[in-house]
Symmetry: C2
Amino acid sequence: MPGEFDFIDWIRSQTSAQERILIPPGDDLAAVRWDPADLLLVGADQVIDGVHFDSAVHSPRDIGAKAMNRNLSDCAAMACLPAAAVVTVALPVGTSIDYARQLYLGIRAAGEKFDCPIVGGDTASWPGKLIISVTILGRSAGIEPVRRRGAKPGDGIFVTGPLGGSLLGRHMTFEPKINVARALAAARQLTAMIDLSDGLSRDLAHVCRESNVGALIDAAQIPIHQDVSRMPGGGRSPLEHALHDGEDYELLFTGPVELGQSSHTLIGRITAEPGIRLQHLDGQVEALNPGGWQHNF
Amino acid sequence: MPGEFDFIDWIRSQTSAQERILIPPGDDLAAVRWDPADLLLVGADQVIDGVHFDSAVHSPRDIGAKAMNRNLSDCAAMACLPAAAVVTVALPVGTSIDYARQLYLGIRAAGEKFDCPIVGGDTASWPGKLIISVTILGRSAGIEPVRRRGAKPGDGIFVTGPLGGSLLGRHMTFEPKINVARALAAARQLTAMIDLSDGLSRDLAHVCRESNVGALIDAAQIPIHQDVSRMPGGGRSPLEHALHDGEDYELLFTGPVELGQSSHTLIGRITAEPGIRLQHLDGQVEALNPGGWQHNF
């Protein structure tokens, strides 16, 4: 990108001082102060043109926001608080400074909603398409991280909202459910949690495998998003969309069935028997194979 | 990539238990334990096919190693110890599992030399070329991080080794100078430091700008790597290669001129006057404009 260093200057001018940041962006590494009693959690996720967004359709603000929000949703999945992020961006040759700034502002604005500043990273240009990689640092902040591996036979399986059809737009505009996750984890005995990025069928399989359990899902209880009714035909039923579409970024969690309340929906039970089975209204039970995330533009 | 989840399983099977890692790869985020007295430093850098390596020429082991080593070199530049890394990889559609494993093993082996495990990340396939983004977490571990911004007029300017011609191979095989940096920072009064990734002329400009100073470089003192003699002709003198080629990953640091010793070379002085000037053997002084990193395959 022409003017890469100008762009870095501009980024630095956008970074406000925060007590937690001892060395801000602009050096080889940033330095972050941690509360000694806090666990540090760290993960990374990328968004890729043609896979997670379409640069011909989506705005740079929305693309940047999605790059950050996917990582914030991982914080939600662990019930931790975001603390800081670093970002690498590979920009197509010829990207304008204004476009790059809009990307950055989208990333930053999404982080700011959760007090999560960008503290460093790298920008390069290349003769390929846009990729953004975000690494997030989170802190446990008094709540034990909720992992994928604690689900027990008899636990209820819950989701925090309706599923399916996210490709119509919600996959770019979702709100990470950090506050919901923290409230749930602080008040109740969650045994496992994950965010629904790959699709209910695949993400539940992750939880089951990590926990060495199975699951029985009640098809009639799965909340189906109204967007599903607007999805183009392709042989999938509304239920199949809700099971397999992915990128909903709702939370799936397990725990005592008494957890059921209006803010989330009990959709099934954890079983000792391995494998995921789906029970239909007529009582028929079938094996549910992970369909998972496979949308293409 | 077909078998992405198999690949993630394989990665997890490669991760050995370490006391510092409270939650290993496989969850939404990893958890890392920090010594309360340590500063946490964090930065990210990416390597891109056709920009930082050529997948038609370089082996996946070397490509992976370079991705990690660039970040370890940033740790060297701050005189901190690497502690953990997260990695995102965008693999071209059709990449074999074996190729992906070799990439991972290259990243891991480079980190292991400095006790820096991979604790998480993300793998995706896409119809583009290979990109690896590495985020590194470092810890100050008893040594104040050396920044770019402390150079003072009168300070000597030092480099830790010969420069130029790295494109012939050293840019893929360099050793991050963490031990050298830690030893220098522990024993002496370094005022600023940076790793030479963009080229002496541009990286020195970063230090000068951050420190609000200038520099006078003695052309005759700049150590020129023997590789320069094998560089294809193109109108650049050996000195120009050493000044501008970049990707040497030697360290440039400033401090009292008495720091000079056999392990590094005094190449000039920091000046109060802004700008970088180059003094030739005949006494002529000219302004040195950052040429910087611009190699293309």
